[in-house]
Point group: C2
Chain length 349, copies 2
Amino acid sequence: MKKNITIYDISKALGLSASSVSRALKDHPRISIKTKELVKKKAKELGYKPNQIAASLRTGASSIVGVIIPTIHHNFFSKVISGLEEVLAQNNLATIITQSHESLDKEKANLDVLLNTHVLGVIASISKQTQNLDHFKRLLNRNIPVIIFDRTTKNPITNSVVVDDFTGAYKATEHLIQNGYKRIAHFTVSFNLHIYQERMRGYRSALEDHGMAFDPDLVLEVNSDIEQGKMAAQKLIRLPDPPDAIFSSSDYSALGAMQFLKEKGIEVPGEFGIVGFSNETFTEHVTPSITTVDQKPLLMGKEIGLTFLGLIKREGDPFNPIIKKLVIEPDLLVRESSARKKNESPKKH
Amino acid sequence: MKKNITIYDISKALGLSASSVSRALKDHPRISIKTKELVKKKAKELGYKPNQIAASLRTGASSIVGVIIPTIHHNFFSKVISGLEEVLAQNNLATIITQSHESLDKEKANLDVLLNTHVLGVIASISKQTQNLDHFKRLLNRNIPVIIFDRTTKNPITNSVVVDDFTGAYKATEHLIQNGYKRIAHFTVSFNLHIYQERMRGYRSALEDHGMAFDPDLVLEVNSDIEQGKMAAQKLIRLPDPPDAIFSSSDYSALGAMQFLKEKGIEVPGEFGIVGFSNETFTEHVTPSITTVDQKPLLMGKEIGLTFLGLIKREGDPFNPIIKKLVIEPDLLVRESSARKKNESPKKH
DNA sequence: TAAATTTGTGCAATCGATGGCACCAATAAT
DNA sequence: ATTATTGGTGCCATCGATTGCACAAATTTA
């Protein structure tokens, strides 16, 4: 059970005071260059590792960043975290991960844990239940930086990094129109969450800009899973005037719909076009491969990290009331499921 | 900038000493029940939150668990973490995630960071470069519990939680044999890592138990990606005596191989059988769906958490030299890609 | 040359919780 | 009734790094 080396060990070895050692290690201007060199050399020699805990206790700030996400095992979130952790680690910041499991209560509880851990700041994507950002105000009041990413609310009370969902959805819908599809349905994951509202807005806008009517009957709230996608597709084709394409806010329900249509003998693409959202790994590998919107999660994670670093740098700055919003442009990945429609057949299924 | 409530605030409000408050909150036996109740009531009233940092500094142990994995955005790892975080969070432990990106140096650096953060313990899955567990001994010497999961070395120096790779591979290979495939190749991700050695051993054992010769020419080291899988499949069918099936230690290279064979007009299954490993999300959704081995990562994460909790409980126990190994039995998920071989054709491709 | 700065370092308090030891009061044992 | 034990609290040092303040020495300025 070896003891850790502290600044006192260094100070004794050098006949200096602990305060001088502390200052020397932090390049304090009032310490002479010779002393600094001496101290640093000795520190290396003894294998000194600063005790972050002690520093945190004294200064009130740690070198740990807290993250709250709905769940880690989602392609999008795990990639965001991956990029984020990489950037933070390069700057000697540790990343604590917590999951809300789509529960507002858990989200609040996690916030408590992070506060108790005295995190430097918090980076979060809200749960489906979360309607506002009030619980984050406690942090902001204490000057703890908060970044909300991807899933946020309409009125941001703090910095945010988001995907341009509107444009992503617009591009996806327009692409289907340009490939000859005439009646395009939409699966939304939740009418509540802002990101899905934005996607729906993009969908609607694309329709209207191309002189196509927005039909509320063609918009279904469908959970992000395969079974729900199948059921929703069934509903759609039973309509008196069924659609010939779907733009889905979820790749999972898009896949479900595609599987259902194939079982029914409806050709995808050709008779029916499908576009998803999120670029889940499987979309590239299923048959036909699914056209989808790539949110660039790895890039997003890195941008979040950079934004965060920017926030904590300006510690001396007494007022930083500027709420910034970083918007990442998503890419439409054109694959097979949305290929050009075959010669328009007026037949109904 | 509100101040935090401390035990001193409680002690003042109650006319007690801070030590009594501290003891009361921790149910120290020497504090009277009345006092305990008083203190706890007041604590709740004032909204007291213990400062973990201060406690850590004093006691030397935090309530943070460190995790080191190669990369988060892998289905397997993200699910393990998800399960692990859930269990730890239920026990008021925070989880710090770090990625080694398959580099031994980064792995060691992460270990440093975790040590500086004074984590309660470390849970790790080693990088491809890592040959031994020596760098973890620093922790063990300090009595910091370490659990290695999934990727570990042959001789464990500490507790571990692993999948029974041998049996998983054995089942997979046997399944191909039973479905009529006569000459089964194997893709291994790395000859170095123990888990892959175990899978190869399972593969070999199944062959030999069924009277089939092990042919080193049919074993290829193939990275876990689609392109490499394609190239490896090409190599195989060019052999003078090509195989009619592959058991791959990676779903990605299994998929690549499958895609290549389909392009070449070789039927999968029927002419050629394929089984992968890991149950990546896409395996279920591609055509044909890929038979694979499910490592039950969510369960594994939870088991790791439980094992960890067990380790830290026995803090008073002066000697716990028992190195435990928890082995999880994987499931073979039989899907389409390995279906029964069509009437044996003696033709070579 | 004296006074004013600047430079370099040390002292001691502080962050908040913890726990060994001491102490007094109440109860039990002799 | 006297001593031993147990119960209930308080005092104070401690964990290690940080930082305001003090102060001496070195340098600059008047």
